[in-house]
Amino acid sequence: MLDVSLGILRRDLLLALRRRSDVATALLFFLIVASLFPLGVGAEPNQLRAIAPGVIWVAALLSSMLSLSHLFADDHADGTLEQMLLGAAPLGVVVAAKALAHWLVCGLPLVLVSPLIALQYDLPGGLHGVLALSLALGTPVLSLVGAIGAALTLGLRGGGVLLSLLVLPLYVPVLIIGAGSVEMAAAGQGGMGQLLLLGALLAVAAVFAPWASAAALRISAE
């Protein structure tokens, strides 16, 4: 089982490495959205500091969601997905490995670049770590839950827009708790409680989401 997941992980990462522009697009989207907000609401530092956690988290949500449609679509198009469905390896493990690869390619860069955005928004230095940590715990949940939506909308017309309609309401708890952790830390109460909650969400999503995605994939590929 570990062999299978490592194999899938390596393959997906290799594919991502061959198509670097896809990876760069998600990251660039994140940077651009985060940079648009000050242009819209004005560059008053106190205001920027106040909206920073929410804006950065919303940008992360959208960026993660936009790259979801690639998760299964390419494999579906070239027939690899059918082989995965027929293969001996449990489908849940395959899906979990693909979600992990998606996070490494689309989520981890956001975590790494988040201190840079935090600087743009003039967040105090102590909060950069909390922000990065909350993103590191929260974005995997987005990949896992998003995989369900990606599996459900596989091969449908208007799949991209539909995907956002399905997935964004399910992202709400992650957004609230993730942005809340930074705000709590900014208020001097420490964000530990929220970070623990995010960790709990991650644990729950890691157990149940691959299973639900596998069921959705079987339905879509019938």
């Binding site: 369900i148 459900l152 539909l162 309609l165 309401p169 708890p173 639900a212 069921a215 339905i219 879509s220």
Partner: protein, 230 residues
């Protein structure tokens, strides 16, 4: 009692017709009685005046909106587990009613909020989670509408409904927590004044009317779905 006798669309079709008829009449009678009690018998509220009377629409609609989501998820899960065709049709038939009641609850809530809180929309935990519930309903309906193959559509919708049902409590509690973080509870339902007996009667009558309406409409829709698939 043979539960599975009516699991076949063929045998359920005539039963649904009779039930829809009965429930429809019951809904009309209950609604007339409930509205009469609500508008003419129930006393004027001491603090809110006449405007509170929207409660007779608002509260039943909010209850139904949540209940119908659970009912929808229940039928969807049953359809996924037992592979019965009728279960999928039930889930599909319930969704529009649920979305309608969610919308009514939000709309009447806004109309109620303006005179009492001074704003049409407040980011209260209940309003916000109700709004997200509406999005969940719309997502379910959009997903089912975009899949032409009925069987795949039912099963895909079922997975989404179950995932949504698991998420609803998480969303509710996270929104509640977020609300307490952002604004010191500006709107509190905790100190709800004890209700006059006639107000309560009116509300219960309206709840029953909404129940009967949901049954009737669902049965009519199921009949249409059965005919469509014929």
């Amino acid at each position: 009692m043979k539960w599975f006798w009516y699991a076949s669309p063929e045998t359920f079709f005539p039963l649904a017709g009779r039930l829809a008829y009965g429930c429809g009449i019951a809904a009309a009678l209950l609604a007339v009685a409930g509205l009469y009690v609500g508008f003419f018998v129930a006393p004027t509220d001491a603090t809110q005046g006449e405007v509170y009377r929207i409660i007779f629409i608002h509260v039943p609609a909010a209850w139904m909106s949540m209940l119908l989501y659970l009912a929808m998820a229940f039928w969807a899960a049953l359809g996924l587990a037992l592979n019965t065709r009728l279960s999928g049709m039930m889930a599909r038939a319930i969704a529009p009613s649920g979305a309608l009641f969610t919308f009514i609850a939000l709309w009447t809530g806004a109309l109620w909020g303006k005179p009492t809180w001074g704003a049409y929309w407040v980011w209260d935990a209940r309003l916000t989670s109700e709004l997200i519930l509406l999005f969940l309903y719309l997502g379910f309906m959009a997903l089912q509408a975009s899949i032409d193959d009925r069987r795949r559509s039912d099963r895909a919708g079922a997975v989404l409904a179950i995932v949504g049902a698991v998420n609803v409590p998480i969303i509710y509690f996270s929104v509640q927590w977020w609300n307490t973080l952002h604004q010191g509870a500006s709107v509190s339902f905790a100190k709800a004044p004890s209700m006059a007996a006639t107000m309560f009667t009116g509300m219960i009558l309206m709840v029953l009317a909404f129940w009967m309406y949901s049954f009737a409409v669902t049965f009519v829709r199921v009949r249409c779905l059965i005919r469509e698939q014929g």
